[in-house]
Amino acid sequence: MRAEIATLQEDMERLGYIADPAITTALFLSREMRRPLLIEGDAGVGKTEIAKVLARLLSTELIRLQCYEGLDVSTALYEWNYQRQMLRLRLAEQEHKSADEIEDLIFGRSYLLERPLLRAITRREGPAVLLIDEIDRADDGFEAFLLEVLSDFQVTIPELGTIRAEHIPYVILTSNRTREIGDALRRRCLYLYIEHPSLEKEVRILRARVPGAGAALSEEIGRFMQALRRRRLSKAPGVAETIDWAQALLHLHRDHLDRETVEETLGCILKDQHDLRDLSGAALDPVLAEATG
């Protein structure tokens, strides 16, 4: 293994993120090749967390663009501050300025509202980490636009001209795979698919994130989650849920899993009513037996 990759793994672990080699190799390559990293996987496997840890690791700013259906350029890239422009325009008229002067005035950088994408490429203090979260929720049109920005790292604003990136940001895109990401965008990126963690990894994550839970309880929780994910569930719980659950159990001062405890707190890990119904009462026993037996 390359020494840098091993170091990266230790550094991430120091910040509380237990990364397996697949994750660190992908991060390392994306950093060295200066390419965006597209991370796919079920909800709650720790995709977004990677960007956060990376920003802390590089001691830089995390700039986040949360995608949603209907996201457009004025929310993602830039918008003019119309109200201020209008006020300035009225003032300028009283000052009897010429049309050209007025134009220069109101289309200056100070009237520009920078949205995440623009902020990520104009940051002067060094490269930021740009997190484009849940890209699968944006429409295909936005994806095409994003491809352009991620290829050139420059943006053209008609009134201002072309703005080139001061520093090329580290870009991380995440997707829950509710739809397939277009080939062109996928090819622009490097790719990482994160699966649910193994028992050993999950227990290590728990020990790092919820140290108060203790070794025995963490092990039981880990085994319970593994057993749960082997069932047919419509929404398999992720590590995020495991951590929530461990914290909840800690607050309730529980130190081992029994049926009553699990029933009371099942809502922390199962977020689908079919799943909750299927796993109530006696149906829990076999899962519990696997966890505690």
């Binding site: 293994m1 390359r2 990759i5 080699p21 697949a22 190799t25 992908a26 390392f28 390559l29 994306s30 060295e32 090749m33 390419r35 990293l37 597209l38 796919e40 949603y68 259906e69 209907g70 457009d72 004025s74 918008e79 003019w80 119309y82 422009q85 209008m86 325009l89 009225r90 008229e93 429409d139 049109g141 795979r177 509710t178 739809r179 397939e180 080939d183 996928r186 090819r187 990126c189 490097l190 790719y191 990482l192 698919y193 047919r232 419509s234 929404k235 079919h274």
Partner: protein, 379 residues
């Protein structure tokens, strides 16, 4: 592996093997793979594997093929030995192209990739004998249906996207209003407006062509073909047929679209194995979930299943598959010709198992009942 040109060959051969097994890798991916390999420890086989997975962008559905080919073809130390002496003949379970026997003349190339070779007899050994002539759909029926559909097709496109587009009516668009005002020296003579875009629905149709559905399947499939042709969403709609196996019909339709409907149907009956044979809904839908769900169904997609739900197979896979489809699609419609009968209760085992994951169960015994379907395909 010290000689870089050796590495290039090695990677090119490996990529070709992946392509041969249906994993989409192109030149830019290969270039990425090469840059990645120069950055890592080539002596560490596990690291090479991880780096290639990332740089070649291997998705989970292609992972099994990747792993298997990597194990076979990527030797830890190539040195001067050219590795891939046997590369082209490596079969990978489930994904290799048909290799037994010469391709039958006259068959579509697109067909080759979607049609399983007919090795499995399925439920009904006489299935092949039961391909009947196409005479039940009269030309008059078809004409009437196409006229009706052309009239109704406009109703299809009514889903409102959250995306905004310029419009005469709707909310005020500040950005454009301001632009316009500048042209008039800062006076808002007219306000620009915008409204939510209208979006085409995507359709995925799964049609049961088993024996019990035979009188209906051709008619329903014909209806779907006509719908697909008049709808603007032709390119984003998919049609599958199933009985004991699942067959993607879309590639056939692309080449046959301008032909008459009855000819298309005739050709389909000849090509679909076991047309009018037994049925295994659960297995077929599970296959759909495994191989097509991610790619062809998203939050905009309406999934239509045409079946009477009479199945002799195991119902557990059916419920699982229906749950997976339902959780991903915009809406799941089940068209059941039996539901046209007033006394019908969805008690057939398969139908009952699927019902919790069906947004609407609709009759499909005549054209009028199909007409009621249209508004449900959008909105």
């Amino acid at each position: 592996m010290s000689d870089p040109s050796d590495l290039v060959h090695h990677l090119a051969d490996f990529s070709r093997a992946l392509r041969d097994h249906g994993v989409g890798i192109n030149m830019s991916d290969e270039a990425d793979g090469l840059s990645a390999l120069t950055l890592i420890d080539l002596g560490d086989r596990a690291e090479v594997r991880r780096a290639l997975r990332t740089a070649l962008k291997i998705r989970p559905r292609d992972l099994a093929v990747f792993e298997e080919l990597f194990d076979r073809l990527w030797t830890a130390r190539t040195g001067s030995a050219r590795l891939l002496a046997q590369k082209r003949s490596v079969p990978v379970a489930g994904r290799s192209r048909p290799q037994s026997g010469a391709p039958r003349p006259g068959r579509d190339a697109a067909l080759e990739s979607v049609m399983p070779e007919g090795e499995e007899p399925g439920y009904s050994p006489e299935a092949v004998l039961r391909r009947k002539p196409f005479d039940e759909l009269s030309p008059a029926d078809l004409l009437a249906m196409e006229r009706l559909l052309a009239r109704l097709a406009l109703r299809l496109a009514t889903r409102r996207s959250r995306r905004r587009v310029p419009s005469v009516r709707g909310e005020i668009d500040l950005r454009r209003s301001f632009r316009r005002a500048i042209a008039h020296g800062g006076e808002y003579l007219s306000l620009a407006r915008r409204t939510r875009a209208v979006e085409e629905p995507r359709l995925v149709v799964l049609c049961d062509t088993s024996g019990s559905m035979d009188p209906h399947a051709r008619f329903l499939l014909g209806f779907m073909l006509a719908l697909r042709r008049v709808a603007k969403s032709e390119r984003s709609s998919e049609i599958f047929a199933f009985n004991t196996t699942l067959v993607r019909l879309t590639p056939f339709l692309r080449t046959l679209a301008p032909e008459r409907l009855s000819r298309v149907l005739e050709r389909l009956a000849a090509e679909v194995p076991d047309w009018a044979g037994g049925t295994r809904i659960g297995e077929c839908l599970a296959e759909f979930v495994d191989h097509h769900l991610d790619q062809r169904v998203d939050a905009r997609t309406v999934v239509i299943i045409l079946s009477d739900g009479l199945d002799r197979g195991d119902i557990a896979p059916l419920a699982d598959a229906m749950r997976a489809i339902h959780s991903r699609a915009r809406r799941v419609l089940w068209l059941n010709p039996l539901a046209g009968d007033q006394r019908y209760e969805p008690t057939a085992r398969a139908m009952a198992a699927a019902l919790p994951y069906v947004d609407q169960l609709l009759p499909a015994h005549n054209l009028e009942s199909l007409e009621r379907l249209l508004p449900l395909l959008a909105a």
